[in-house]
Amino acid sequence: MLSRSSSDDDVPVRLTNVSVSIEGRPVVRGVDLQITTGEFVALMGANGSGKSTLVRAMTGLRPVARGSVRLFGTEIGHFHDWQRVGFVPQRSGAGSGVPASVWEVVSSGRLTHRRPFLPMSHKDRDLVTRAIEIVGLSGEKRAAVSNLSGGQQQRVLIARSLAGQPDLLFLDEPTAGVDMPNQQVLADTLATLSDRGVTIVLVAHELGPLAPLIDRSVVLRDGRVVHDGEPLAEAQVHHPDLGLGHAHHPPQSPALDHVPHVAGPFETPDPDEEVR
């Protein structure tokens, strides 16, 4: 209280020389990062670059080997204001043994604000209903989550974090395996949140329709930050100069699919189309 500057409280995330190792293997090495209120940051990089691990360190799910993680000015080990933090984990393929409805999963987003043994308040129910509306699943409110498509399941997880009204939201690969219409819903939702001043940290392999929302790109390679600054297009992130390979393709084939425009001889591109 005496020595801490008041401006420190306003910084949602401050990483100082953070290193994380998994089973003795260094995954994140000496990362310094400061994310200010209202920023929309994309953590990018190839598979295995450490971007997911870094987000797990920021949420306290993965202990850091060295360095310090501070959320809203408090060392993460002493941080208790989890109401302010939202987290959208990577969608897991394995379901649970008992069915769960969309409403129930989204309701658990209110748990940080609720006391045990007490039923949901009127406000809780309102916020859950609104969160389901925002992601466009009002019609599926009573449906079992396991019966939904992958993109819809991802939207359920977003709605769950929305219901908690976080000031700081972490998303781990929300667009992975999600089709374009669902990605668009996701982008619209995040745009609304960003406009409200929510700080958003997003791990992404591909940005798609999220690209225009990004204020700042942080690119990781082998656990180190190789770019921190203005938003990069996907082609730039995977540019050989940044040293990022592409895991999907055998090494001999160049990353042709990242070249902005390569039209085939029989294709007649529509001028209205979005051209990458």
């Binding site: 987290f87 129930e104 189309e273």
Partner: protein, 335 residues
């Protein structure tokens, strides 16, 4: 018929009905959380561990119910800690614990001069010989279990559904995991007198399995499994009483069989409902024939790209020059 009425009016039968009612209500409530965690057989293992507790109680002339509670709780905490660490030899460690518990129980009972048959009433249940004080203990434990399982349902649900999210939401995941383990241990000892330690797991799991055939939400599964468990426990006891004029039927066995019958009725109903839901989802049974990566692409497929969209499992393919494009990472797969 009048004989049956007289039997119902007898004190031991009324005590048995009360015990069956509360056991049938409470045990499947805990079972719902075990099934959700995919730990359906944990009740069975705890039943084995509780045998040692019962034997120690018999030999030292203390109430076997309480020694069984202690043994089962210790076993449950050990199982939870092994599970939490995710040790690769975890399942083997559990097997050691389970069979050590069963063998230890028989060994201790024999050492103390008890015949193995005195363990039988705990292994197979002895609801009609239940004493008034035992009924009271069963009722109190049953009510406590139901209050915890229903009152903490949102927390317990969230922790098992997505433990990483629960942790970031500030819930004490470890506390709730241990709580479920302890609840399971207590419910095993509650059900010990009703269905017996060897069939405890059946009363924990079968009502849940029956309920989830026809439900699509967790709370409804919880409520319905409690209803099914209660119906099966009381119905099975009445069935055993009705049959008692012709043969000596163990109520534990008839209770489990009644709940199995309920499951067998719910199963085809649920299968029909699921088939109807599945028909609404296109292409679920259609596996992609091959995934050749499309080499290049000029635009992002979407609602307005002009290519016909085809829902395919959990994503949307786009018809493109006579083949289907599926978004995958940075490129499109050919489906």
């Amino acid at each position: 018929m009048s004989e049956f009425v007289a039997l119902m009016q007898s004190g031991f039968m009324q005590r048995a009905l009360l015990a069956a009612f509360f056991t049938g209500l409470a045990v499947p409530a805990v079972g719902t959380y075990l099934v959700q965690r995919r730990m359906s057989l944990m009740g069975d293992g705890l039943g084995h561990v509780a045998v040692t507790g019962v034997a120690i109680g018999l030999v030292t002339s203390t109430a076997p119910t309480w020694t069984a509670v202690v043994a089962a709780v210790l076993g449950a905490i050990a199982i939870e800690l092994i599970r939490e660490r995710g040790l690769s030899g975890g399942d083997v460690a559990l097997a050691l614990l389970f069979y050590g518990g069963l063998a230890g129980g028989i060994f201790v009972a024999n050492l103390g001069g008890e015949s193995t048959s005195s363990l039988n009433q705990y292994l197979f249940g002895s609801i009609v010989s239940i004493t008034p004080s035992d009924v009271l203990v069963t009722m109190v434990m049953g009510v406590v279990l139901v209050i915890l399982c229903v009152g903490l349902a949102p927390q317990l649900f969230a922790v098992a559904h997505d433990h990483e999210f629960a942790k970031v939401a500030g819930l004490n995941v470890r506390f709730y995991n241990l709580l479920v383990a302890v609840l399971a241990a207590v419910s095993v000892t509650v059900a010990m007198r009703t269905v017996g330690l060897l069939l405890v797991s059946a009363l924990m799991v079968i009502p849940v399995a029956a309920a989830q055939q026809v439900t699509s939400s967790f709370r409804r599964t919880l409520a319905m499994s409690m209803g099914v468990g209660m119906t099966a426990a009381v119905g099975g006891l009445l069935l055993a009483a009705a049959a008692s004029y012709r043969a000596d039927v163990a109520p534990g066995a008839s209770i489990v069989l009644v709940s199995l019958v309920i499951f067998l009725v719910a199963w085809p109903v649920g299968a029909l409902m699921r088939r109807r839901t599945r028909r609404l989802l296109p292409f679920t049974d259609d596996a992609p024939s091959g995934q050749a990566a499309s080499t290049h692409h000029v635009h992002v497929h979407g609602a307005h790209c002009g290519h016909e969209a085809v829902p395919h499992g959990d994503h949307v393919d786009y018809l493109h020059d006579g083949h289907r494009h599926a978004p995958h990472g940075e490129h499109y797969d050919e489906h």
